[in-house]
Amino acid sequence: MIEIANLSKSYLKGAVKAVDNLNLKVKAGEIFGFLGPNGAGKTTTIKMMVGLLKPDSGSITINGFDISDQPLAVKNSISYVPESPEIYDKLTGIEYLNFLGDVYSVPGAARKEKIPALLDLFGLSGVVGDLIQSYSHGMRQKIVLVGALLHEPEVYILDEPMVGLDPRSSNNLKNHLRERCDRGKTIFFSTHILEVAERLCDRIGIIHQGRLIACGTMEELRGLAEGKETLENIFLELTE
């Protein structure tokens, strides 16, 4: 479902290698956790996957479409949640969701059914008529998530989706993601919360200094770091 081959990206004319020859495959119906220290290349990889950055070399195929050749087909196949919830603060919550409904061609009937349910899930029903300008950081994160879950793409690409969420919303999101995954959808997300990755993900990839240094199930990762049981200990040893 997601196939990344020989992907590289550098800044300052090659002086800083943000992503270095990355190869990765994520299957349909899988939740894949993408971990790494700050500045390891997680967000750069994700930005290249959604078309916000142009790779120096390599290819990214999502749902069978190449991001360089068929960007619109890829964008129709994905939902993206950015690292920071910077969205249109002069629109109300409902106007923002309707805007996304229009650009993702979500029919009116589907919106009528899904928007109230998703707003209830994240506890936003009471404020959806307010300008986003008046939202707290957590509320912005929630409205971005509601927008991302509004249509039914094949692949969800989420950059630190749990940041700013209260425990209940975080739990609701995890359950919702698992539910979508069970329906055959693919979820690729980055996180610093290792417990979440350990409990939620089918497979985990660890990126360090632009290179994928480990990738597999929890069992496979334990095999890479001998004597280390928790993901935190494995992560610390591998990224030392």
Partner: protein
């Protein structure tokens, strides 16, 4: 405060960023420098015409023995520009800069923050005033064979010219924002305040410089008899201009005395601003961005709001309109030019004159040409409103949304053209007023509106193209997206050049045939061809630009 000022200058003028580019990315540094040179070169012909006009004005004024009026006019014009156009700079820098949330919690006095921000706007205003004031200083000095003292004091006067008008508009903004902050309808009140101020300045200016009806000959005799008559008359619109003009033209002790008066007024203006700032700056600032919560939507209301769907192009146009309406600075900048025309037309009605002479003159023009004039007015409003030339830039850091949504760049551009046409249509009421005053037929009015829409397209498409080539997305307050965006200037220069071509072609067609139809065909056909050309280039390069732009 000096350290804070240094920091503000680095941030607002990109000094640190330029240094970084010079060291790490010389290509980008050269690009920025090259762009500045390109702006100067593209504005050079207009500047040359202005200098020539100043030279002619000097020759006439010197013939009357009142050459000082050249300097007084330049000071008055510069001051009015600062007073009117500085307003939105002030609101934006004082109240909507992103760094305010960092500065307010620091152990600084309100007047320190205000003072540092005031000097940032002052420098921006000096850049605005320079092309209007310096040519007058040059023409007067060169013609008089002025000495070193003239040039030194001329530079000081130049630096002081925006100080008082900027302090006045800043004090107005401080008062407006502290009042507005008490209300729920903050955005609406801000906008009303800005337009009231604009109207008051225009009205006061016309009232003070108006010549009493029926006494024109006596009035002119009195002015010409007095050695400083013209200077005094010009300075009625802005009295400190008299000190500035006399400081540069009188010579001896009188020059020094006038210079000290001008300096003293400037110091008093700044002191008054800092005093007012210490008292009321935070009243308008703290809680200013808070928004009153709306009543929660019921299930039925929510269902009603989610039922309708729009095409992507309309969704984008609607998003832009909502942003315009809810951002007073965008709305003021887009509507100011359209609003000025009815205000200027209304002034003679209040000051004893009338519109009769103007209407009599316009009635002598054939009806078809009048309608084309209405269309040209709409086109020029599309040219001067920064709707298209800042369209991509206004998205700022939110441009990522446009890059990830599954809507082709071409469809997004269609949405932006739609939005810009809607802004251009704001001038329809003015054309309707002209149609009423000049007794046009309904069909004449409709032809004018339709032609106006077609004539708006070259400005819209060329401006969109310019903004897409190099969008300014990293601004930290919305004013910068328009007022500190070089694309807006380029848009006006390029669009102006296209309109000049259409004017030449239309004039040629009319003189050759003497008929209105060929004129319409040439002008509107030319506008359609130019627009199609710009639109074609736009949609050709847009996919690559959307991929390449990294925020």
């Amino acid at each position: 405060m000096l350290k804070l000022l240094g920091l503000q200058l680095k941030v607002n003028f990109g000094i640190s960023a330029l240094r970084w580019y010079l060291k790490n990315d010389p290509k980008r540094f050269l690009g920025s420098v090259g762009l500045a040179v390109l702006v100067i070169v593209s504005l050079a012909p207009i500047f040359y015409l202005y200098v020539q006009m100043m030279q002619s004005a000097y020759a006439i004024a010197a013939g009357l023995g009142q050459a000082g009026v050249v300097l007084a006019s330049a000071v008055v014009l510069s001051s009015l520009l600062v007073l009117v156009f500085g307003l939105t700079y002030v609101i934006s820098v004082f109240y909507f800069s992103r760094d305010l949330s960092l500065l307010v919690p620091l152990p600084l006095l309100p007047r320190d923050i205000l003072g540092a921000k005031y000097f940032v706007v002052l420098i921006l205003d000096l850049l605005t005033v320079a092309p209007f004031f310096l040519p007058a200083l040059w023409v007067f000095g060169v013609n008089r064979g002025a000495g070193l003292l003239y040039w030194v004091s001329g530079i000081f006067i130049f630096l002081l010219v925006p100080v008082v008008p900027l302090a006045l508009s800043s004090i107005f903004v401080l008062c407006l924002m502290s009042l507005v902050n008490l209300s729920r309808k903050k955005d609406t009140l801000q906008l009303i305040g800005l337009f009231l101020f604009l109207g008051a300045i225009l009205f006061l200016n016309t009232y003070l410089t108006g010549i009493p009806a029926g006494e024109e000959v006596d009035f002119l005799e009195r002015i010409l008899a007095d050695e400083q008559g013209l200077v005094r008359y010009t300075a009625r619109a802005y009295p400190p201009a008299l000190f500035a003009a006399r400081a540069l033209s009188a010579g001896g002790w009188e020059s020094l005395l006038n210079f000290l008066c001008f300096l003293g007024m400037s110091a008093a203006g700044v002191a008054l601003l800092l005093l007012a700032g210490q008292k009321i700056f935070y009243r308008g600032l703290i809680g200013g961005s808070e928004v009153q919560q709306a009543r929660a939507l019921s299930r039925e209301e929510l269902a009603g709001k989610t039922a309708g769907t729009l095409s992507p192009a309309w969704a984008i146009a609607l998003r832009e309109i909502k942003y315009l309406v809810r951002t007073p600075i965008y709305l003021f900048n887009s509507l100011a030019m359209v609003a000025i025309v009815p205000i200027v037309l209304a002034i003679p009605l209040f000051t004893g004159g009338g519109l009769a002479p103007l209407l009599e003159l316009l009635h002598t023009v054939p009806g078809a040409i009048q309608a084309l004039g209405g269309a040209a007015f709409m086109g020029s409003m599309a040219l001067f409103a920064p709707a298209a030339s800042s369209s991509f830039s206004r998205e700022g850091r939110l441009f990522w949304i446009s890059q990830v949504i599954p809507v082709s760049p071409e469809q997004q551009i269609r949405g932006k053209v739609l939005y810009s046409l809607i802004i251009a249509s704001f001038s329809v009421p003015v054309v309707a007023l002209a149609a009423f005053l000049l007794s046009w037929s309904i069909s004449g009015f409709l032809i004018a509106i339709l032609s106006g829409m077609i004539l708006s397209l070259p400005a819209i498409t060329s401006s969109l193209l310019i903004d897409l080539l190099r969008p300014y997305l990293t601004w930290d307050n919305p004013q910068k997206a328009i007022k500190q965006n070089i694309n807006v200037v380029f848009g006006m220069v390029v669009g102006g050049a296209l309109y000049y071509l259409l004017y030449l072609a239309g004039r040629h067609a009319y003189l050759a045939t003497g008929a209105a139809l060929p004129l319409y065909l040439v002008v509107l056909g030319g506008a359609a061809v130019l627009s199609a050309l710009c639109y074609g280039i736009l949609v050709k390069i847009a996919p690559a630009r959307y991929r390449e732009i990294a925020i």
